[in-house]
Structures are given as C-alpha cells and as structure tokens.
C-alpha cells in the first residue's frame, strides 16, 4: 500500500507535467487539427531558457530562490511563447490546408528545435540549480517534497486560469468559435490568424512552465528531453479526448499515475511501453478518448 501511495504522489507530479504539455497539443489540435510534433521540443526549449535565466540571475548576484524562480518562469514562459508563435508563422501557417505536408513540416520543426538546442547549449545533460531541498510536509512514511507540492498546486492554478481564459474572455470565445467552424468564425470578423497564434503562444507558455519545473524536479535536462515526454503528453491528450481541455488534464494525471504504478510494480525499463500500449488501446477501443466527443473524419 505504501508503494502505491508513494507512486501515486510521484505520478501526480509527473502527471502535472504531462497535463500541462497535453494542453498545448489539445488546444492546437482542437483549432487547426494539427498534431504539433514540435510541442515536446518547445517544452525542452522552455527548460533550457529557464536554465539560462538562472545562470544570468546568478551572475547578477540575485540569490533568493523564490524570486529567481519566479523571474526564470515568467521570462522563460514569455520567450517560449514567442518561439511557439514563430514556429507557427514559419512552419505551419503556409501549410494549413495541406495535411500531410504540415505534419512533415512539424517533424522538421521538432528536429530543428532539438538540434538547435544541441548546438546552442550542449550535447550532454545540463544540471539545474538545486534550490528546493528534499524537505516537505510530514505525512508519515510518504516522501513528498515542497517542490512536488508547488508543482502540483501551481499547475492546477494555471489550468484553472486557462479554463477561465477559454470560457470567460473574448479571445477564448474566439478560440472556441474557431474550433467549431473556421470559415464561420472568419465571417463573424474573427482574426483567425491572430487567434491561432495566441493558441500557440498559450500552449507554449504552459509547456515552458512544465519545462522549468521539470528541470527543478529532476535537476537535469537534455536537448532530447522533449521527444519522449512530448509523445506521452500527446498520448495523454488522446486519452482524455483530443481537443478537450479538461480531458487533457485528466489524461495527463491518469497517464502519470499509471506509468508510476507500472514503474513501481513491474520495472522502470518497461515504463515507456505503458504509455504507448495505453495509446494504442485507447485509439482502437475508444478513439474519442475519455471525455471527447465523437470525431468524424473530415473529407
């Protein structure tokens, strides 16, 4: 039972990362029906930008862990958001109506980001600053760090903020309109390009947040970190029902927990297979996901 609880806690932490990244996949897919292959690498770019910020702040002798983390988060999220918009502008916008070409362009974007990070930063692992120790709330035998609490709570807050943004603001309404019918939305005077670009911006900021938090949590990052996590986050989005925002959150946490339990009870070597087996089973048995609506093949 102890193992199960402990793995549940770890699963919720990893699940928060998956959920944050899955939101980016699901929002983009919901609006332009594109599997944004490069999204996992956007997350990696966020982690690397955060690391640069920490290094810069250390040079400026700003030591307060809370202040540096907040600054690193905000700047990394902003820059990564712009990176996402840039990716959309260059690699996706001219190809919006060519489904196969845009997917291949997305693979190209993914490779470009990965090996761009490889060239700019390092081919090996880079170490993140240790700002938060292992200490945490005392809960019997459970090992929970304050960092895990922060990750979980702040992720939930961000997801809530996103929900409010999508359902209570004008731009959110435009996004939902676009997801239903792009042509009709355009006729209603919605600036389609701007709305798509904002979607990329939002998704990328969430991924950057997950990236910086991943760095702090695992204390090391690498230029290829986004590939596998990106695939799993996409799995999470499909699991919850692609295009569905609460679904992405549910799928992310569920995948994190299932994977952690599998690692705890079987072997961590097979951990990565779990996600893909879930993906295939879900796509075959219930392609619309847990919360998704029925999707009709568009002609």
């Amino acid at each position: 039972m102890d193992i199960a609880l402990q793995q549940l806690v770890n699963g919720l932490t990893v699940g928060a990362f998956y959920a944050l990244i899955a939101l980016g996949y699901t929002m983009v897919y919901g609006i332009i029906r594109l599997i944004n292959f490069a999204h996992g690498d956007i997350y990696a770019a966020g982690a690397f930008l955060g690391l640069s910020l920490y290094a810069l702040l250390a040079l400026l002798h700003i030591q307060n862990p809370v202040l540096t983390t907040l600054l690193a988060l905000v700047v990394s999220m902003g820059c990564t958001g712009l990176l996402g918009v840039l990716l959309y502008r260059i690699a996706y916008r001219p190809l919006l109506h060519a489904r196969l070409s845009i997917l291949i362009s997305a693979i190209g974007g993914s490779l470009t980001l990965e090996y761009g990070l490889f060239l700019i930063y390092s081919p090996s692992f880079l170490v993140y600053p240790h700002l938060f120790g292992r200490a945490g709330p005392a809960l019997g035998d459970l090992a929970i760090s304050w960092l895990q609490v922060i990750i979980f709570v702040s992720s939930l807050l961000l997801m809530a903020a996103l929900y409010v943004l999508v359902h209570r603001t004008k731009i959110g309404m435009a996004m939902r309109a676009l997801a239903i019918n792009q042509d009709a939305a355009r006729l209603m005077g919605i600036d389609v390009n701007r709305v798509i670009a904002s979607t990329f911006f939002l998704g990328s900021t969430l991924a950057a947040f997950a990236g910086v938090m991943t760095g702090l949590y695992y204390s090391q990052i690498s230029f290829l970190m986004g590939f596998l996590v990106g695939l799993k986050a996409f799995t999470a989005a499909v699991l919850g029902g692609i295009g569905n925002i609460p679904g992405a959150v549910l799928g992310g946490f569920l995948l994190g927990i299932l994977e952690s339990l599998a690692a705890g009870y079987f072997s961590s070597r097979w951990k990565d297979v779990v996600a893909f087996v879930i993906l295939i089973v879900i796509l075959v048995a219930r392609p619309r996901g847990l919360l998704g609506e029925r999707v009709v093949e568009r002609m």
């Binding site: 693979i107 996409f234 297979v273």
Partner: protein, 337 residues
C-alpha cells in the same frame, strides 16, 4: 491512360535512366570498397523507400514507425541464423511472414481511424518494438545480435563489398519491378482512388479498409526483406538502428524524391545517404540541417524532386476537365463530346 503508359520513352527521359544504369554497374567494378559500401546502403534505402512508398505514396497512409518492420525483418534473420543456424535464404520467408503478421495485427484495428491518428499509433508501435528489442534478453538487449553469418549461394560466400552490392542490387531490382507492377495493377488504381478521394472510391465499390490493409502489409513485407538483407550485410544489428529517426529518414527518402514516384525514391535514397556522407565534416549541424531541410522542402516543393507522373497526369486531367467545364459555362451552351 493506356496510350500514356505504353508510349516509348522519349530521348530526354532516356538519358537519366541510362546514366543511373551505367553508374550502378560501374560502381562495383571501379569504386573503392568504401564507395561500394555506400552504394549498398543506398540500395537498402531504395528497398525501404519503395516499401514505404506503397504505404504513404500509393495508399496515402502516414506511417511514422516503419523502422519497426525493418527491425522485425533484421532480427528474424539475425536470430534464426545465429541461434538456430538456419540458412539465409530460408530466413527470408520467415521474415516476410512475421512482418506481414505484425502488419496485420497493428493495421487491422488502426486503419479505420483518422489518418493522423494512424501516424501516432504507428509511431507508438515503432517505439514499442525498439524498447522491447532493448529489454528482452533473447534479442540480445542493447548489444543486439552479432556474429551473423554471411549469405551463401552454394559454395559461394557473399562477403566482399562487391558480392554484397550485387546481392543488394538483386533485392532492390525485385522490389522495384514489384512496385512498378503494383502501381499499374488493379490494386494500384484502387490505392490511387482511395488516396485521391476516399468517399468517391468507396462509392465506386472499393472497400478502403481492405485495400489500405493490403498496402500496409505489403509495405511491411518490403521492410522485412530489407531488414533481412541489412542483417547479413552488417553481420551485427542492435536497437539503435531502428529508432524514430530511422523511420523519419525513410520517410524523408520518399518525400524528397516525390511521393508515389519510383525514380523519385531512387533519387531520394541516393541523396539521403550520399549527402550526409559528403557532409561528414559538418557532423554537428547535420541533424539541424535535416530538420530545416524538411520544413523548407514542404514550403517550397511539397511534391518532391522527381514527382510521380501518375499524380501529375491525374491533376492535369482534372485541371483540363475543369477548364473545359468553365469554358462551356462561359460559352453558354454545353458542347457534346
């Protein structure tokens, strides 16, 4: 259509064909062992490209885990030859059957889905195969299978670069002729119809799932055969040859060349293998250039370097009939044909 496919090749189209044939024959005679080895690798990617071309180019299904079938073929031959001392030629049907079976198992449930979901499932399948090969002990774990014997024909051991080259050439030619005939068969026309308009194809009595499955399984078998050859060529295989990047590289072969086009696949394979070899000095930026190249190619020339003639003919015919219809409307009176 018949008149278009049976007319003799005009001179300007004969020249590149003759050049390729001369180069292919001259290389093993005059080339250094290194060059011959590069040539053999090009042949492997021609086989892989032709197989994936059936799936993506003919049937229009995006497969991002194609390296999995390549791996299954290579491991089948490698394991049978090393562990059970089976002769190479007998491992070929085994590799074919195993890849066909895995193609059916993974294809049957997934080919009904949206095309981009299929891309992800195949990607997941590719990763599962690679992780399984790394984790199982009977596949040799991360070290893989080594000490794979050479292929033999009677007493002749195919060990030298030249012998491997000719073996590869024989395989590639069989696959090439097979692909050529498939494209012009009833099957090929069914695939073309599904790719261009699935609903219309279905209305015309073509059952899409069946034909898609056939394309998927045939593509898998082609990759399996390429894998068998790959195993006896390298005499050692390990999971690192069968990554996602490998699948993308094979995809790149057909996209670069032009989807559905056989000369395109050959050109694409040559460029994909020779260009990185020529750029060895710039090893650090190779993958970056690859990624940027994919985007640029999609933006500037999505039809590839040597696009399919069949695709062009269809497009031209559609454009012509549309223009004629527009002209009729403009003329105000429909003219009977």
């Amino acid at each position: 259509m018949k008149a278009l496919t049976t007319q003799p090749l005009p001179f300007h189209r004969l020249v590149p064909v003759a050049a390729v044939v001369l180069l292919a024959i001259g290389l093993p005679i005059f080339g250094t062992p290194y060059l011959i080895d590069v040539g053999t690798l090009v042949l492997v990617y021609i086989m892989l490209g032709l197989g994936l071309n059936i799936v993506v180019g003919y049937a229009g299904l995006l497969d991002l885990g194609y390296a999995a079938f390549f791996a299954i073929g290579a491991y089948t031959t490698g394991l049978l030859m090393v562990r059970y001392h089976v002769a190479f030629w007998l491992t070929l049907p085994a590799a074919g059957i195993l890849t066909a079976l895995s193609g059916i198992v993974i294809g049957t449930p997934t080919l009904r889905m949206r095309s981009d979901y299929l891309a992800i499932v195949t990607l997941g399948f590719g990763e599962i195969v690679r992780i399984a090969a790394t984790n199982f002990t009977f596949t040799g774990g991360p070290e893989g299978v080594y000490g794979i014997p050479h292929a033999t024909i009677g007493r002749l051991v195919l060990r030298s670069p030249q012998a491997l080259y000719w073996l590869g050439m024989a395989f590639a030619l069989v696959v090439l002729v097979g692909s050529y005939n498939l494209a012009r068969s009833r099957l090929g026309r069914a695939w073309l119809a599904i790719r261009e308009d699935e609903a219309a194809a279905q209305a015309a009595g073509i059952y899409p799932v069946y034909y898609k499955l056939l394309a998927y399984v045939l593509g898998a078998v082609f990759a399996g055969v390429a894998g068998s050859f790959f195993a006896v060529k390298l005499t050692a295989i390990n999971p690192s040859s069968f990554t996602f990047i490998q699948s993308v590289t094979i995809l790149m072969v057909i996209i670069l060349g032009g989807m559905g086009s056989l000369p395109g696949v050959i050109l694409g394979a040559a460029v994909i293998i020779i260009l990185p070899e020529a750029l060895r000095a710039f090893d650090r930026v190779r993958m970056l250039a690859f990624g940027v190249g994919l985007i640029v190619l999609m933006l500037l020339r999505p039809q590839g370097l040597w696009p399919s003639r069949i695709g062009q003919i269809v497009k031209r015919a559609v454009a012509l009939s549309e223009a004629r219809a527009a002209a009729e409307i403009a003329a105000g009176a429909p003219t009977p044909e």
